[in-house]
Amino acid sequence: MNYILHILIMLEIYILLAISANQKVGLSGLLSLAQAVFHGIGAYTAAITITKFGCSYWLALPLAMLTCIMAALVFSFIAGKVRDLYFSLATLALQIIFFSVAYNWIPVTNGSYGISGISNPEIFELKINTPGSFALFGGAWVLVVILFYNWFLKTPICRLIQATRDDQIAVLSLGKNPNHYKRISIILSAVITGIAGTLYATYTTYIDPTSFNLDESILILSIVLIGGAGRIIGPVTGAVIYILLPELLKFMQMPDGIAANMRMILFGLLLVLIVRFKPKGIFGKYLIQ
């Protein structure tokens, strides 16, 4: 039972990560290779404030979100004006810089040893330290984010974010600043990734830089690509496929060592098939470009 709940919690974290990537890649058309950076910033801020300053989850969370907002603001001012491949290259640079800082800034991040002893969240002195309670807690966050998008997708600002995705020059010629809408998208995505990062750090109680590297960023992007960008159902479906695929392999009674490799092989194969036969993904509205 605990194992199933563990799978469920990981699914919830990946749903949040995929939804945040969808904000940037799907709604804004900004192909980001640095989704794991904001995940890492959220996780490290939570880990540091909890372990070094004794903050509670409820203080660590807004601090993590604030740090993500600040990082996204700085990044969007530097890279928000470039487009397409150049934006992707800027995110790649950010990913490399972040990993390098997380790995080498030992006094703060503890380098490759990572940070352990991160305490679980509490609600009114009720410790969320069992898989069941954490699954409910994570599920509540997923619900909050989905409800947010249920509202946000119908708002004028979201229409302009999507308009900027379709044609920046048209947005500009109508007297609106496309960079402003890209910036909002980058910040919003970073906030949701910050929530996921805090959830991840307080669930695993240990983080190290390898959880936030380029592989992770590409994986999050692939989840959106498989599920489809633009609609919330897309990233949710992508995350379900990614998390449940190895579990399905267990029914085939494959040894664990082989199953782990098979998971990546099958995921890669699925990615190739999607790109070839359904380039918008399973439930996608937009083509990722």
Partner: protein, 239 residues
């Protein structure tokens, strides 16, 4: 003062080439000015200079009495000078009415802060704009397109919707770059009547067009450009 746009001794040169040389003319409010000329005559560069996409080497552009030649493209479009490109630039993944509402000059819900703290007003204003978009489409006989995805429309329909977006924006001066190019005669007629309707509502229009006969039928004055200079200016209304 009846002039909305005044251009004085406008020059543009790059790498020894001067696509616009000593161009001067004025545009009256609520008029339609047709600009013609062969390819390379400097018409598109002139539009680029007025909309701020390029900066003049020399000369002055005055809009409603204020100099705009040093302003950015965004600042100029915010003043109310909107350009319709030859290829329709729509938000292809949005519905037609969403395109129109997104084009509105002001919508309180375009700000995240307003969406949170003035949610009721933002919702009401968005509904008003939505209704305005439907009314505009109905006025031009395009109401059947309102719930279609813009990218799925035909080329001609996309051009008409792009023009509706200008109307929705509440612009003062519209620059139309070859609005009739690629359209069938029926759509040209529809587009012409839309342009005249917009003029009646107080919008000034500057039109580059190769289909001279059709454009002359609706224009108040005609500027002919040649080799970057103004060759002739004719006032059609008094001709």
């Amino acid at each position: 003062m009846n002039e909305i746009l005044n251009i004085e001794n406008l020059n543009k040169s790059f790498d020894g080439v001067a696509p616009v040389k000593d161009v001067s003319f004025a545009v009256d409010k609520h008029s339609i000015v047709l600009i013609t000329g062969e390819n390379g005559a400097g018409k598109t560069t002139l539009f680029n200079l007025i909309t701020g996409l390029e900066k003049p080497t020399k000369g002055k552009i005055t809009f409603n009495g204020s100099n705009i030649e040093t302003k950015s493209a965004l600042q100029i479009s915010q003043l109310g000078i909107i350009r319709l490109y030859q290829q329709p630039r729509l938000f292809k993944n949005l519905l037609v009415w969403e395109n129109l509402v997104s084009a509105a000059h002001h919508n309180i819900g375009n700000s995240f802060v307003n969406l949170i703290f003035k949610s009721k007003t933002a919702r009401q204003e968005d509904e008003i704009l939505k209704q305005k978009a439907f009314d505009l489409l109905t006025k031009f006989g395009l109401q059947d397109l309102s719930n279609q995805t813009a990218g799925e429309l035909s080329y001609g329909q996309q051009k008409l919707i792009s023009f509706c977006m200008i109307a929705m924006n509440g612009t003062q001066l519209a620059l139309l770059d070859e609005p009739f190019a690629g359209l069938n005669p029926q759509t040209i007629e529809q587009f012409s009547s839309m342009i005249l309707q917009m003029k009646k509502e107080g919008i000034t229009l500057l039109i580059i067009e190769h289909n001279i006969n059709k454009a002359l039928a609706i224009a108040d004055s005609h500027i002919e450009m040649k080799d970057g200079k103004i060759n002739t200016i004719n006032d059609i209304a008094t001709a």
